[in-house]
């Protein structure tokens, strides 16, 4: 009998979702922004005397050229889903987690350490322990700026940036220490094979993608179906009203920031177990956390949007690797295209204006 009830309710939910979603700003405008970004990026390609069509083709091939290419895009996108979700989640409480980078790095490091030092654990247990350790490390790394923000009102951006640097140097110090370093490598020992996450056809794509999908769904439900999500969104939209509603605003700020760090940390752990296999010395930020900001922005801070934006970024990552070889266009062009897309997403009023003008032209023609 419950199935009889479920069905109409499910349809009602879908109908509601369809009617209450603002398709204009959640779908049309971002898609148009991506289109404009590609176009304007193409103009830059023209100015260096190359054919933009070649670049577009390279991007297309990067994604659909072969099954392996496609898998590689998935592999590149996976960590970005985690850091993108992390930034988006914090953003829903009105905070800017620029520290996803450091939380991601700590996730990579601590997952690796756990794998190396607890190698005597049975495989599946070790894998879970590594994932958990990396996740917690990310959460802890976020807890510090989160606590300073909630209790002391110190702006989270400054502190998270500093935490990013600390994560970077802690990683390098430990990786190159006798405790972890594999002699002959600028990296730690390998994590035992039994704890690694299987990959697909030897590409960067791995079963970690299922965790990313689960994270997307969990974040969605957490934000829009739970009491905690209600409180987090209320705090983000209007802290005065949240306080009036009886929500403990500082506590919620801290909680949201920690959850954000947990997501980034899990992303780091998946990266170590699924792709890197060991923790390498870093010559600068990994960029995964910082690009998570762009992914979150393009995805409108919505979990589903984040997943799609991560795919876009995965494609562009991969395209930048192949573009120089196949077209002779410097790979920095992809960076320019990324920047153009972000520009148009951020300046969505311009996109709206351009769309409106296009529509008016269409009317009068």
């Amino acid at each position: 009998m419950p199935t009889e009830r479920k069905k109409p309710e499910f349809w009602k939910m879908m109908k509601n979702f369809w009617q209450t979603t603002n398709w204009e700003s959640n779908l049309k405008v971002p898609l148009a922004a991506i289109g404009f970004g590609l176009l304007v990026g193409g103009v830059f390609v023209l100015t260096i005397g190359k054919n933009p069509i070649d670049v577009y083709l390279a991007i297309w091939k990067a994604m659909f050229g072969s099954p392996r290419a496609f898998l590689d895009v998935i592999g590149q996108a996976t960590p970005l889903v985690f850091t993108g979700l992390a930034v988006a989640f914090a953003f829903r409480t009105g905070m800017f987690n620029i520290g996803a980078e450091g939380q991601f790095t700590m996730g990579m490091l601590v997952a690796g350490i756990a794998g190396i030092k607890l190698h005597w654990l049975p495989g599946p247990v070790l894998m879970v322990v590594c994932l958990a350790a990396g996740t917690l490390a990310g959460g802890l790394w976020a807890a510090i700026p989160g606590w300073l923000k909630a209790k002391r009102g110190v702006h989270e951006v400054i502190n998270s940036i500093m935490m990013n640097y600390i994560a970077l140097y802690v990683t390098n110090t430990l990786v190159l220490s006798a405790w972890l370093r594999d002699p002959g490598y600028q990296a730690t020992y390998e994590v035992p094979r039994k704890a690694l996450i299987r990959n697909f056809m030897g590409t960067t794509a791995n079963w970690g993608i299922t965790l990313a999908v689960v994270a997307v769904i969990v974040v969605y439900f957490l934000l829009w179906r739970t009491k905690l999500g209600y409180e987090i969104r209320a705090t983000g939209h209007n802290p005065h009203a949240a306080q009036y509603a009886g929500i403990n605003v500082p506590k919620r700020l801290l909680g949201a920031f920690v959850v954000s760090g947990l997501l980034a940390g899990l992303g780091g752990a998946v990266q170590t177990l699924g792709v890197k296999r060991r923790v390498f010395q870093l010559f600068g930020f990994t960029g995964v956390g910082l690009d998570g900001i762009a992914v979150s922005l393009i995805g409108r801070n919505h979990p589903v949007g984040v997943a799609l934006a991560a795919l876009l970024y995965g494609t562009l990552y991969r395209a930048s690797a192949s573009i120089q070889l196949s077209t002779g266009v410097p790979k920095q062009v992809v960076g320019i295209i990324q920047a153009c897309i972000i520009f148009f997403i951020a300046a969505d009023e311009i996109v709206r204006y351009l769309l409106k003008r296009a529509a008016r032209k269409g009317e009068s023609a």
């Binding site: 309710e9 009617q19 009491k227 209007n238």
Partner: protein, 513 residues
């Protein structure tokens, strides 16, 4: 005589939003030198129509003519170029900027590349003198009163050469004194050849200050008529489509045990200066106690202290015998207190939440709304549907964002939510601000019903009419103190008015206790 071409003509204006037709084929003529009132229920489409005239929205159909010429506005800048200025229901000023900076913003006098500050201030002072709109050009917006902020908005429009000034519910945020001053200003402006469109729910004001009135009901224009010879009852009936009882009839109260006891309460305001000095009073079950006073004499701080939003520096607050001073808002609520806050957009609503989400704002953590970790959608929606119907909130659905509701309907959401908490003590601060006459009648009756059901009600209002109509006892606040108490039988507008400006202290004493 032949009628001259109107300054502004709106013809057949249609504007649809998802689920509503906000403007349905509306015509409106505005002549030079007239004050034209726009009347209509909450959600009738007044603000929408004005936003179209100001170029903020593009109409789905219809046209606008200025001096007989058809114009198409692509944005407010174009409307301003055609001499149309607007002061919105919710102000649009840059808080950290000074008064002068706000006025000249977007049209700055320059000296080469540099902003010519001296000339800017001189211009602002000249305008301010010319139209008798007193402002301090050097003050920051964040530091000045709402009344002065409004004068800044008006000056901003005049500075840009407005010939027609649209004022959307300007008096809703003003004290009665400030409202009187505004009306004098409006008279001066039309005498100088400007025109004004005036939106208000206060019929008395409309009759007193306007030449013509256009009534809109559910997006349709009902009629335009001269105010001379019109009566409040007639206008109310035109707006609502039925007869409205403009005065509440109330039976004498039968007060019971004290529910709220405030003793020697002291608190600071946002700037750290004493706002409450030794305030003591009681509200008993089954009575409405009204707090009258000019804005800024401690009412806001008093309400915030009782509801847990502000900490008291000393003194006691008891609800049903339980000490609640300096407890967090949730615990105050659990002690039996509901609170209609004075600023609906700051405290009362999360504008980016749906109507349903806003309606459960005080209950989302309790069953049946919250089950385990989850919020139950169906229960929430059903409860919201019930309240929306009972309180006549005009919204396409409970899934609509609060942001897209009309000002008055936003207010109804809050009032519904708080009254339905069925509290022992209801604090109602400006409960009917921005509501139409029909809604006011309904809310007043609800408050009286609550009283008769044995609830204690603390009513804070800047409207003397509202206080005198509802309160069984009236306390007057002046400079953070309660300077007088009157029973409803002895209260007159003059007596309260004198106390409000500090002319007369308790028991006729001229010295503070």
């Amino acid at each position: 005589m032949s009628t001259p071409v109107p300054f502004v003509e709106m013809r057949g204006i249609v504007k649809r939003f998802p689920g509503v037709v906000a403007n349905d084929n509306i015509d409106l003529d505005i002549h030079r030198g007239e004050i034209h009132a726009l009347l209509g229920e909450n959600g009738a489409g007044k603000s929408t129509l004005m936003n179209i005239l100001y170029g903020l929205y593009k109409p789905d159909a219809g046209e606008i003519r200025i001096d007989g010429q058809v114009v198409h506005f692509s944005g407010p800048n174009m409307a301003i170029r055609h001499g149309i200025g607007m002061v919105h229901q919710h102000f649009m000023l840059v808080e950290p900027f000074t008064v002068a900076e706000n006025i000249i913003l977007g049209n700055e006098p320059r000296q080469g590349m540099k902003l010519d500050r001296r000339q800017a201030i001189a211009k602002v002072e000249e305008l301010s003198k010319k139209y008798n709109l007193h402002v301090d050009p050097h003050a920051r917006i964040a530091d000045i009163s709402v009344g002065m902020q409004q004068r800044v908005e008006i000056l901003k429009a005049l500075y840009r050469g407005a010939e027609l000034l649209i004022l959307d519910e300007p008096t809703a945020v003003l004290t009665p004194q400030e409202a009187d001053e505004l009306i004098v200003t409006m008279r001066q402006l039309v005498a100088a050849g400007k025109s004004i469109i005036f939106i208000s729910h206060k019929l008395k004001e409309v009759l007193r200050s306007c030449d013509k009135v256009t009534v809109i009901r559910r997006g349709k224009k009902i009629t335009t008529l001269p105010t001379a010879g019109a009566s409040m009852n007639e206008l109310a009936a035109l707006m609502v489509g039925r007869d409205v009882q403009l005065t509440v009839s109330k039976t004498p109260a039968t007060p019971g045990d004290p529910v709220l006891k405030v003793e020697n309460l002291q608190a600071l305001n946002n700037r750290g200066l004493p706002a409450l000095r030794d305030v003591s009073f009681t509200v008993r079950a089954g009575e409405i106690v009204g707090i009258a006073g000019v804005e800024g004499n401690g009412q806001t701080e008093l309400v915030e202290c009782i509801s847990g939003l502000r900490s008291a520096t000393s003194g006691r607050i008891e609800v049903n015998g339980q000490q609640v001073a300096n407890l967090p808002p949730r615990q105050v609520q659990e002690a039996g207190v509901a609170h209609i806050p004075q600023d609906r957009q700051k405290h009362g609503l999360v504008l980016d939440f749906t109507v349903a989400e806003n309606i459960i704002m005080r209950k989302y953590f309790q069953p049946p709304f919250c089950q385990g970790l989850f919020i139950h959608q169906r229960v929430t929606d059903e409860y919201a549907d019930k309240l929306v119907a009972k309180y006549d909130v005009r919204t396409p659905s409970v899934q609509t964002l609060a942001r897209s509701l009309s000002g008055g309907n936003q207010q109804k959401v809050i009032v519904a939510r708080e009254i339905e908490q069925n509290p022992d003590l209801l604090i109602a601060a400006q409960p009917t601000r921005g509501l139409d006459v029909g809604a006011i009648e309904f809310i007043h009756n609800q408050l009286l019903q609550q009283r008769d059901a044995g609830k204690a009600i603390l009513l804070v209002s800047l409207e003397l009419d509202e206080i005198m109509a509802l309160a069984d006892r009236i306390l007057v606040m002046y400079e953070g103190q309660i300077v007088g108490e009157l029973s409803d039988a002895e209260a007159t507008e003059e007596k309260i008015g004198l106390l409000m400006v500090g002319e007369q202290r308790k028991g006729g004493d001229t010295v503070a206790n």
